[in-house]
């Protein structure tokens, strides 16, 4: 019995000690971070006061975590192409839009992914079921790929409601936009 009582008391003391230790750890960790614990303590490395805030922050981030040398902050990552069972090619997201100026209809759009090579085409269907295909080249951008704008003289299009989808295809990728309507 005596031994058990002693063991209980020891446990209480031990738990209290652990809680105290945890609190101390928390306080220590807080001060460790708030005083740049991972940072070079060399005073000469402290950013000069005439530097800009975001530069100071980025500089500190880099010193705290040199792995940031491998990443660009807040990059807008494009959506990764997906695979389907129906096609051997990876599927890319596409956007498309249309506008008219003067007597010309413009079909614009592209791939929300920086692909290289390949080609675009717009598949149009007219009010009487007629079908037209317009091909276009590809323009590369750092974070996306555009289909060169397709210009169609209105004289080529019968009056009425038209619909189109914009397509991209290459050896590795393919994609199509949603169907878009416009009136002539």
């Amino acid at each position: 019995m005596r031994i058990q009582r002693s063991s209980k008391r020891n446990k209480i003391v031990l738990i209290a000690a652990l809680l105290l230790l945890a609190s101390a750890g928390a306080v220590a960790a807080y001060f460790y971070y708030s005083t740049d614990g991972f940072k070079n303590s060399d005073a000469s490395n402290v950013a000069s006061s005439d530097r800009f805030k975001s530069d100071n922050e980025q500089s500190k981030e880099l010193q705290d975590n040199p792995d940031n040398k491998d990443s660009a902050p807040n990059t807008d990552h494009p959506a990764t192409p997906t695979t389907t069972t129906e096609s051997s090619k990876k599927q890319v997201q596409m956007i498309a839009s249309t506008d008219q100026s003067g007597n010309t209809v413009f079909i614009r759009g592209g791939v929300n992914y920086p692909v290289s090579g390949g080609s675009c085409y717009a598949q149009l269907s007219g009010p009487s079921g007629q079908s037209i295909r317009k091909d276009s080249s590809v323009l590369s951008n750092p974070a996306s790929t555009d289909c060169k704008t397709i210009s169609i003289p209105m004289s080529e299009l019968a009056s009425g409601k038209w619909k189109f989808t914009l397509h991209y295809t290459s050896n590795d990728y393919e994609g199509a936009s949603n169907e878009i309507s416009f009136a002539v």
Partner: protein, 554 residues
């Protein structure tokens, strides 16, 4: 076994508690550290002015170099500074812990490259070398070649480079290879880089990025977005929706082609952090440019050159309008610290519009005069300047002379003349007035007219004080229409004994607004009146009081 079990449990408990404590502290620390600096004036359709974006002469090579030096004041080329990891230097940490190459680590302000053979400071001693040109020179050359503002290229570098290079004081060579994000999309597995090695290197990246931006300008109709209305995705995730944006200029169009997303309100509010459905490329470009170079748009801002003879202009819709006076600047709500100094060449490029006079509305309700001794005083009302006819007129409105603003002739010329302001008759209502002429009568202002007192007794009878009579100019007096004369106030004589100042005048007592004559001295005495209290009035005053019945003996 029991001891071991207890020991293991305690160890687990200890680890758990310390972990909780540590994570709590980290959470508290990070909460403290998250300085939100929301962006409130991001204009999605005009992220930056064309004149700024394509101003290739904003900085010369030395200015770029000085700027880079200010960004990285303490480059650790040889990696000798402490890394903060286990007592290792940066070079030791790089090689022993990370497996990265050893020094040198030339920072952006030290970096040189030979465009002809791709040699860099990494192979040539960490700094300048024969045949190499500095990063500042490379940025300048790219800007000049493709007519892009070098400040734009610097911001793109901060936005696109790993690290970024603009903040790294011991960069690796790898960070320079695709530093403008050109030809190195994150299109490999798990967003890994999928780079075109033929376009690697700081010089190529800078030139290609500048070329690309210029190409967009020269082919504005070829891409997914165009000047005018566009639906732009909020994020790379199409499920986040689109924003209808009216792209106003080539610079903004180019930025959207380069990075085809527009930040949502969450991303703007969270700057420099992230938000759900957020996109950051264009947000960061705007924020970084502003942070480094002040403004992204001259529109709505006053500008001047550094020349001492420079005028100050307000840029409105791409046109600079000269302020025609200092007061004009102030009246539009600007002050000298607001005026931005730009280069002579840029000033020349901006078409000049009509001069900008004062903003009359800024003076509404104020009193103005010029420094000329003969200047009148004007009240600015309904977009016009209304001259006061006289000092009395000004006083009659209760204005404080000390609050009259002295302005240049140019200001007054700018304000159309309104109708003159005469005296405010209402302010004299119930008051006695006279002109400054010695022969002036005294008037009571009543119902917007001035009623002349018919006599001094009349004034007295109405209980007005001679000391309170206000003296006005003849002109001011003339502005007040004259009303009917004001005779005596008969009730003021009620119960009083009166007589005329003419010899032989009878004596009267005023009762019921009439004068009742005593039939005789005996009759007066019979009422017990005191002869010494008889008031002597003029015959004219006496005549104003209707005659009542006579009073005989009591």
């Amino acid at each position: 076994m029991k001891y071991h079990s207890l020991s293991r449990n305690i160890s687990i408990l200890l680890a758990f508690i310390i972990s909780v404590g540590f994570l709590s502290a980290l959470f508290i620390y990070n909460s403290d550290r998250a300085h939100a600096a929301p962006i409130t004036d991001f204009n999605a359709g005009n992220i930056i002015d064309d004149r700024i974006f394509y101003n290739k002469n904003s900085m010369n090579v030395q200015q770029i170099q000085t700027f880079l030096d200010s960004l990285i004041p303490n480059c650790d080329v040889w990696g000798t500074q402490a890394s903060g990891y286990g007592g290792l230097t940066n070079a030791q940490y790089a090689q022993q812990v990370k497996g990265w190459p050893g020094p040198p680590y030339p920072c952006l302000n030290k970096y040189h490259e030979n465009p002809n053979n791709n040699e860099t400071s990494y192979e040539k001693g960490g700094g300048a070398f024969s045949g190499g040109i500095s990063a500042a020179q490379i940025i300048y050359n790219a800007a000049q070649t493709y007519n892009i503002n070098p400040q734009v290229l610097l911001v793109m570098l901060k936005k696109e480079s790993l690290g970024p290079l603009t903040a790294d004081n011991w960069p690796l060579k790898n960070q320079y290879k695709y530093s403008m994000g050109y030809a190195c999309p994150d299109s490999g597995p798990n967003y890994s880089a999928n780079c075109d090695t033929s376009k690697a290197g700081f010089y190529k990246q800078m030139m290609l990025a500048a070329w690309q931006l210029n190409y967009y300008k020269e082919h504005p109709n070829d891409y997914r977005y165009h000047l005018g209305w566009n639906d732009i995705q909020y994020s790379t995730d199409p499920g986040c929706g689109t924003k209808r944006v009216y792209i106003e200029n080539m610079a903004t169009l180019s930025l959207y082609i380069y990075t085809p997303y527009t930040p949502n309100n969450g991303a703007l509010a969270a700057y420099p952090g992230t938000a759900s459905c957020g996109a950051y490329g264009n947000r960061n470009f705007f924020a970084y440019f502003r942070e480094w170079f002040g403004i992204t748009s001259y529109n709505g801002k006053p500008i001047k050159t550094s020349s001492s003879s420079s005028g100050v202009f307000l840029v409105e819709n791409g046109i600079k309008r000269p302020f025609n006076s200092v007061e004009a600047l102030y009246s539009h709500g600007y002050s000298w610290p607001d005026v931005i100094t730009i280069s002579e060449s840029l000033m020349t490029e901006i078409p000049t519009g009509a001069p900008l006079g004062i903003n009359v509305a800024a003076y509404a309700g104020k009193l103005l005069k010029t420094s000329s001794p003969s200047s009148g005083v004007f009240l600015i009302e309904n977009g016009t300047k209304r001259p006061f006819n006289s000092a009395d007129a000004l006083n009659s409105y209760g204005y404080d002379w000390s609050k009259i603003l002295t302005v240049s002739e140019a200001v007054l010329v700018d304000i159309p003349l309104g109708s003159p302001l005469g005296i405010n008759i209402a302010s004299f209502s119930g008051k006695t007035i006279k002109s400054n002429s010695p022969s002036s009568g005294v008037f009571l202002v009543e119902n917007s007219t001035k009623r002349p007192f018919s006599s001094a007794e009349a004034l007295n009878s109405h209980r007005y004080s001679w000391a309170n009579i206000q003296t006005l100019s003849e002109a001011a007096m003339a502005e007040i229409p004259t009303g009917s004369p004001l005779g005596i106030n008969i009730p003021a004589y009620a119960g009083k004994l009166i007589k005329s100042n003419l010899p032989g005048s009878g004596i009267f007592i005023v009762e019921n607004n009439t004068k009742r004559p005593f039939e005789s001295a005996a009759a007066l005495n019979s009422y017990g009146y005191d002869w010494s209290k008889i008031l002597t009035l003029s015959e004219a005053i006496l005549a104003e009081i209707p005659l009542g019945s006579s009073l005989g003996m009591k």
